[in-house]
Symmetry: C3
């Protein structure tokens, strides 16, 4: 990964073979980022997607192993118990131009990942919400 820092924002180039969520969590620690909004494009493979089943209070998961255009990648940076959390959703393009997508557990950059982070000064924290058994933002 390489990056440019400009004022309160970062622009990342995540490289082939690097996992996208952990790459952003790593720069969050290295650069002491307190919170942020994320958008990006690129290409991914070995992508584990989730769909939150509200009745079962858990994510369904499935891993997709082809190479996909990363058509939309958006989310945010916050903390849970002092550990950075990237919460992101992704939309993937297939060779026939049809799409799949979901909550992004993990994905490996297949060609390049071009990701923009707008940081904020305040730290955003998450807290367990018992209704859903999910860690939601706690402002």
């Amino acid at each position: 990964m390489q990056f440019k820092k400009t004022n309160s924002s970062y622009f990342l180039r995540i490289d082939k073979g690097e996992e996208i969520i952990s790459s952003i969590e790593n720069i969050t620690v290295d650069e002491n980022i307190q919170s942020g909004a994320i958008v990006g494009i690129g290409a991914l493979t070995e992508v584990t997607l989730g769909y939150f089943d509200r009745k079962q209070k858990k994510y369904l998961r499935r891993t997709f192993n082809d190479i996909y255009e990363m058509l939309s990648f958006s989310g945010n940076i916050s903390y849970l118990d002092d550990k950075p959390i990237v919460h992101a959703h992704v939309i993937l393009g297939q060779p026939d131009y049809t799409l799949i997508g979901g909550h992004l557990f993990s994905g490996v950059v297949a060609v390049t990942g071009e990701v923009y982070i707008q940081t904020f000064k305040d730290k955003f924290n998450r807290q367990l919400n018992p209704e859903f058994d999910l860690n939601l933002l706690a402002f």
Copy 2:
């Protein structure tokens, strides 16, 4: 809804049961926001989507009542006759990871909505465009 204000931006947590478009229009009034760009993720239900039929000069509409991952939510804040207008498009993920989407008339947050607004100082206004019978941005 809860929110954090940081410089010229807002980060919202919209809660289960709250309608997303009117929630953002309400904070626009309460915080005297003049204009802005919006991106967000979360989960929605009772979603009314639109597709603008240019020949008929009107939106087709359909309401979808399952629970969906909100994979992409993007748009902007402007005004029409001093009333705030959130113009947003949405992409929704289903349990089999296939997608639907359209112009977002309304949607109820199903779990949480995490929405980032970058505000601008200038007020953006809309004006009726007779060719399409739509209220387009008038800079």
Copy 3:
């Protein structure tokens, strides 16, 4: 095209009949924009989408001639040999609310295009990467 400039950002209204990628490349030159992140919504027609085939080191391409809701448009502005490059991905909505998408080679605005650009002071350059035969960001 009309636009508002506010601090380090631009908000564009791209009009019916204007090609979206070249419109943004033109304003990049006219306003001497060094780099930026882009998001937008609107409606497109005559859209040429791409999927990068990593084995063949080339894009598959197909042109879609109906009118589509532009549900997600995201990317960035950089330079290759002093020529501005808009790298963008797009997701398009059809009348039945199903979607297609891909790398965006070109698309003509069908009704309106509402596009937000967050600029940065540093110039971003691209360089040929021989592994993929693609021009990747070189920070």
